[in-house]
């Protein structure tokens, strides 16, 4: 991350180089979501580098997602990351963290930061946001009373809950939230995530009174109650009383005489604009605060803009992020010479509160003259859906969805448009009517599909028809639709696929010319049909390519897929019988082919643990066979340069020394990386090495759609980097936290928290099911992170399937894994014991004693590596300074 206060740093030099004399300086005051969007948009549009940007943030961190803060507890800090971190490495962007701006001088066009440093601006953008409003309730300043807006607030809340829990370990921590709006319900979810009791106190008649109507509020209350959160509506808090002994907040007293004992109170009664800078700078202020701006987001002062919650636009401040994003885009457009104006606030909302879907848009309360409502409510299932229509029941004016926000994505873009002929209730009736009617909706081109990024249906269609996008990821990258909150993804998918079909582009999920099915479909088909050979499978499920009568004999795409499916379903050694013909390059030789056609050999070292004798044996093997050695990223040793015919001899030596195949060649479990854990480390709280060894031995040899990596850390310091693994385990005082779907490689992804404080048994069962579910449903070569993005319901969906057993397949998954564990065998040893399998490990069928004569190596840093083309050519020409080539067969081999 950039810190521009270090003079002469490389970053500064780059920055100076990127600036030209006529670069204008934009100063952004505030480091929240809207500021982030502003910087992102300006950098993407300012291709001529006309502007440099200085962002001053009060918080000590880059902007983060303030919507849905409770994910910080449930999924970890990364869940709140916004956009690409590279944005802040841009030489034209400087982020000053922990650097609040104290004053604006309009005359001199400068701002002064908290360190009294003065910064010049050509354009000033105020994006200072809001602060939480705490009503004047007596006792609101007691210890144990919190607000809920920043990560610091969350950390303080968590610290307090932990402190209370330590003080009385046997008593549940009791929490209460004042305010039943969006923020209050989020805070209640956070308390639940911290394992505290939560009661929501709402002054009004129902929850989320701003966004949804009474009926929706009632449904929401029932659903929230089911999540273990208590709700009191129409309740005014009169006073907060201290606990007699501690002096901390201890009791709430209500206007109706009621009382509630509590250890913690979160005040979430709304926000007010952070407008003090604007006020002191003498800008025109709104009646209820905020810097007054015109529809171009300009304040009363030229070259000073205000965006987001601090801007008083059309007479009011708006506490939602989408209109703030729109304002950011407008200012960027103006800076780029455009004439964009604010189109009015889209106050549509869709969110998940403690796992409950809530959405509303337009005239949710039905306030328009003569409007009519269509309501579907199911109190048993906790579903409430309402459409607000014009008096002729044709034009859609608004909607409320609680418990099932399915129709929201398709209906919201139809706001203000005429619905097709027919009964409008069809759009909100449960499955059957629901899906059919929605499927038939044809969005007008100007319908706003993605409100976060202001993308219309027409723009999405154009991405396909004009910009040549051929899939959903392409359309997302081209338009930015569905890249922020993702609520509109179903609509983006539907529009994209419809356009592709119209353009005659087949949206094919077929594996290859031989199979119409996807890998997941084929996996199920093979399992259900109980097939065990490729010939049976292609005969039963293969398709004949155009012009042919039989499906043929497969290819390098489908054969390894079938090989993996057969291996996952327990069909014996991967080189047994016909299976051997299916194996990909590396599996075929149980070693990793390198660029010159030789192999690298990796013995398993479970958990990265190896005895001195083991290390010596590996060293001796490498030396005797002339192998180049290197330590891998997975805490083991890789030996390079083994020729096909050497492999069995090398394995024999390794197997005799107690090693087995490390499966470095397979789309299967590679390693379980571990830190040294509580057995040696001063900080470790659990035996991470022991757990890593157990996991590696349990899942060794397990074939999957792609390679699998795991990690186990012995404490929260996370030295094993478990959160970058497909399966990451981190020790806690109480057990193990399980993270899943982290990936390194080309598309890195942080793992997400699946379950907490598991016992050893719970941990193994949960990992068993996670892996088996992935193995059954993953696409070809799909790693766990993209799988998690696509699998139904994402992380929550996976939790439902493998913990709540929503599909009723857990017993089946468990049995499949038990089968795998029981039938594991070392693939190397099995080959050594079988002359038939050994046959393939020969150099030449007619000269088995000869080695590949074309191998050539040069010495480097005490070992040898393959010669480059230039080195080979030089040696062949006999040049004087030509490197000395060591040819493969002439390498000294001791046995």
């Amino acid at each position: 991350m950039v810190n521009s206060s270090v003079p002469g740093s490389a970053g500064d030099t780059q920055r100076e180089a990127a600036r030209s004399d006529d670069t204008q300086r934009v100063v952004v005051v505030g480091g929240g979501m809207v500021a982030q969007r502003f910087v992102e948009a300006l950098r993407s549009r300012d291709t001529e580098n006309r502007y440099s940007i200085e962002v001053f943030a009060e918080e000590p961190r880059p902007p983060y997602d303030r919507v849905g803060l409770s994910r910080w507890f449930t999924e970890g800090p990364e869940a709140l990351t916004l956009g690409e971190p590279e944005l802040w490495d841009d030489p034209l962007v400087t982020l000053h963290r922990d650097r609040r701006v104290m004053a604006v001088d309009r005359e001199r066009r400068t701002v002064t930061d908290r360190l009294d440093k003065v910064h010049h601006y050509d354009h000033l953008v105020l994006a200072t946001g809001s602060y939480p409003f705490v009503p004047p309730i007596p006792g609101a300043d007691l210890p144990g009373v919190f607000v809920y807006r920043t990560i610091d607030d969350l950390a303080a809340l968590r610290g307090w809950v932990e402190q209370k829990r330590e003080a009385s370990p046997n008593k549940p921590v009791r929490g209460a939230v004042i305010g039943g709006g969006l923020l209050g319900l989020e805070a209640a979810g956070a308390l639940k995530a911290l394992d505290a009791h939560a009661t929501v106190i709402e002054f009004g008649t129902h929850l989320m009174g701003v966004q949804i109507d009474q009926g929706g509020g009632e449904a929401l209350k029932r659903l929230i109650n089911n999540k273990g959160i208590a709700v009191r509506t129409q309740t005014a808090t009169k006073e907060l009383k201290p606990h007699k002994r501690t002096g901390h907040v201890g009791r709430m007293e209500f206007a109706d005489g009621g009382r509630l004992d509590t250890d913690i109170v979160v005040v979430a009664t709304g926000v007010r604009p952070r407008d003090e800078l604007a006020r002191e700078a003498g800008l025109e202020m709104g009646e209820r605060g905020g810097a007054v701006v015109d529809l171009a987001c300009r304040t009363s002062e030229p070259d000073v803009y205000a965006i987001g919650e601090v801007a008083c636009i059309e007479g009011r401040c708006i506490g939602l992020v989408a209109p703030g994003y729109t304002m950011a885009e407008i200012v960027v457009d103006r800076l780029m010479g455009g004439d964009a104006t604010f189109p009015g606030a889209d106050t549509a909302t869709k969110l998940k509160l403690s796992g409950v879907d809530v959405a509303s848009f337009g005239d949710a309360h039905g306030r328009a003259d003569g409007c009519v409502e269509v309501v579907w409510a199911d109190q048993v299932a906790g579903i409430y859906k309402k459409l607000v229509l014009s008096d002729d029941a044709r034009t859609l004016l608004g909607g409320v969805f609680v418990g099932d926000a399915g129709p929201y994505a398709m209906l919201r873009p139809m706001l203000g448009a005429e619905l097709p002929e027919g009964d409008p209730s069809a759009f909100i009736l449960p499955e059957g009517g629901n899906g059919a009617a929605l499927g038939g909706l044809e969005l007008p081109d100007d319908a706003a599909v993605c409100s976060c990024n202001n993308v219309s249906a027409g723009q999405i269609r154009a991405a396909v028809t004009e910009h040549g996008c051929t899939d959903v990821p392409g359309v997302k990258a081209c338009t930015k639709a569905a890249t922020t909150c993702g609520a509109c993804l179903p609509v983006v998918k539907k529009l994209t696929n419809t356009e592709l079909e119209k353009a005659g582009i087949e949206v094919s999920t077929a594996l290859c010319e031989h199979f119409e099915l996807t890998r997941a479909q084929l996996f199920d088909a093979v399992r259900v049909a109980d097939l065990h050979t490729f010939s049976e499978i292609i005969g039963r499920f293969g398709r004949a390519p155009e012009g042919a009568t039989s499906p043929g004999r497969g290819c390098d795409i489908c054969k390894p897929v079938v090989a993996s499916i057969l291996a996952s379903q327990g069909n014996g050694h991967i080189l047994a019988g016909e299976q051997a013909t299916l194996q990909d390059t590396n599996d075929h030789m149980l070693a990793n082919m390198q660029k010159d056609g030789t192999y690298s050999v990796v013995p398993r070292m479970p958990g990265g643990e190896v005895t001195p004798e083991g290390l010596i044996a590996v060293g001796q093997v490498a030396r005797d066979f002339g192998l180049y050695t290197k330590i891998t990223g997975g805490q083991r040793v890789d030996m390079f340069g083994a020729r096909v015919e050497q492999l069995p001899d090398i394995w024999r030596r390794l197997v005799d020394a107690g090693f087995e195949s490390g499966h470095a060649y397979g789309k299967s479990l590679r390693t379980v990386k571990s830190c040294v854990g509580s057995t040696w480390c001063r900080y470790g709280v659990q035996d991470s090495v022991g757990m890593a060894v157990e996991l590696e031995l349990r899942y060794r040899g397990l074939r999957a759609p792609h390679k699998l990596k795991m990690g186990v850390s012995g404490c929260a310091r996370e030295c094993a980097e478990a959160q970058s693994k497909d399966v990451g385990v981190i020790a806690t005082d109480k057990g193990w936290n399980l993270y899943v779907a982290g990936n390194g490689g080309q598309r890195p992804a942080h793992a997400k928290l699946l379950a907490e404080d598991l016992t050893r048994e719970e941990l193994l069962t949960t990992i068993d099911r996670f892996l088996m579910y992935y193995i059954r449903t993953g696409d070809r070569l799909q790693r766990t992170a993209p799988w998690m993005e696509e699998v139904e319901g994402g992380l929550d969906g996976v939790r439902q399937v493998i913990i709540a057993d929503s599909l009723g397949i857990c017993a089946d998954l468990d049995a499949a894994m038990a089968d795998h564990v029981a039938n594991y065998e070392d693939e190397w040893k099995a080959v050594l014991d079988d002359p038939e399998k050994l046959r393939r490990f020969t150099s030449f069928v007619n000269a088995p004693k000869e080695s590949d004569p074309n191998l050539a190596y040069v010495a480097e840093r005490g070992q040898h590596r393959p010669a480059t083309d230039a080195e080979r050519a030089a040696a062949a020409s006999g040049a004087e300074d030509a490197p000395v080539l060591i040819s493969g067969p002439s390498l000294e081999v001791r046995s």
Partner: protein
Amino acid sequence: MTVSEHSESRTVSGGTATLAAASGGGKGVNVIDDLVWHTVCPVDDLMPERGVAALVDGVQVAVFLLAEPFEGARVHAVQNLDPFSGAHVLSRGIVGTRGGVPTVASPIYKQVFSLVTGECLALADKEPKTGLAADLTAYPVDVRDGVVHVGTPA
């Protein structure tokens, strides 16, 4: 394994010779018309749908046994040198079909080649190494009395 249906003489693709009688030449070598025939191995040494490497007159050749005959022949041979990596590895590629034509995929960068003509059918976004052609040399093959013979130009 039975290969009786291929043990009789046949006209080979890529050459005009017919292996009528084994006579003359040195051990394992027959000269017929403009081709030199080399004995490679018993056909029983081959595994269906996999290849083996053979040294034919100092040149590496990849020999494949198909699961079912294509245009009458079950055994096919191409150069073992992979033109896209420069490594001698094609005998270790996956055998399959593209539009019914038998193929092998390079185990290194996954280009697909016809086992019949040697033609490169899929470049996989790569160019062959300098000085090498994308298409492979396909060698005439004959199986006689259970023995695989590969022909090279005389």
